[in-house]
Amino acid sequence: MRQIVAWFALIIMVAVLITGALLMHPFGYPPSDMDDYMIANSQAETANNNVVAAVLFDYRGLDTLGEATVLFTAVTGVLLLLRALKKKEKNP
């Protein structure tokens, strides 16, 4: 019984995804207003040749701050988990 419901839900989900893929904008001609401004004015305002680095660290710097926090939290979590097991196994 659970198998039939699972197959039904999976087929409906994949059908919705393929319909959404066929209704997108034609591949190769995206709508772009913000990116035209960034390509035209990034050398005068940020003094940088690399537009992607200017977008990552100057126009959208708060996203990079959030990502650095996520990396720090994940490394702290891994080192904390792999130390508690040793202490618990040495004192049974």
Binding site: A47, N48, A53, G61, L62, L79
Partner: protein, 153 residues
């Protein structure tokens, strides 16, 4: 620990991997690359050393307390650079126009100049340090946990 041929080749190759990774980090504002990509390249070099020599040999040189200090230092430099331009707004690029790292390139395609970019090369360096220390510590902890029963101090 693998055979003698693998250990000798790994000893010679780690130098070139380190130099290439630092080149990708420091030229992040002229060519494609930056902090995250260069940090991943250097972390791959450290993983190659762990595979060739065994984790108990590498544990004597790379202690976990040193890696923790490097990672925290990288995060603090990143936040410090963001707060230093607090006179106008958070994350302000206050080095454009000064002769330290600010020179404005001419518009259109040009051969690149390293002394441009403002605050961005310093932020690249801080993020590169953080990624190197973080990924090396994670792989070293996993290798020590699954091979022997030694305490990871």
């Amino acid at each position: 620990m693998l055979s003698k041929i693998v250990r000798t080749i790994a000893n010679q190759l780690i130098l070139f991997v380190l130099i290439f990774g630092l080149y990708v980090i420091m030229h992040g504002h002229v060519t494609p690359g930056g902090g995250f990509q260069g940090g991943a390249i250097v972390a791959s070099g450290v993983v190659m050393l762990i595979v060739a020599f065994g984790s108990t040999e590498i544990k004597k040189s790379l202690r976990e307390s040193h890696l923790s200090i490097v990672e925290s230092g990288g995060a603090l430099i990143f936040i410090g650079m963001a707060f230093a331009g607090m006179g106008t707004i958070f994350f302000y690029n206050f080095l454009v126009g000064t002769p330290f790292f600010g020179g404005i390139p001419p518009t259109g395609p040009n051969p690149g100049n390293v002394w441009t970019g403002g605050v961005i090369p310093l932020m690249n360096f801080a993020v590169g340090l953080k990624v190197i220390a973080g990924l090396s510590a994670v792989v070293l902890a996993m290798a020590l946990f699954s091979s022997g029963e030694e305490m990871e101090e």
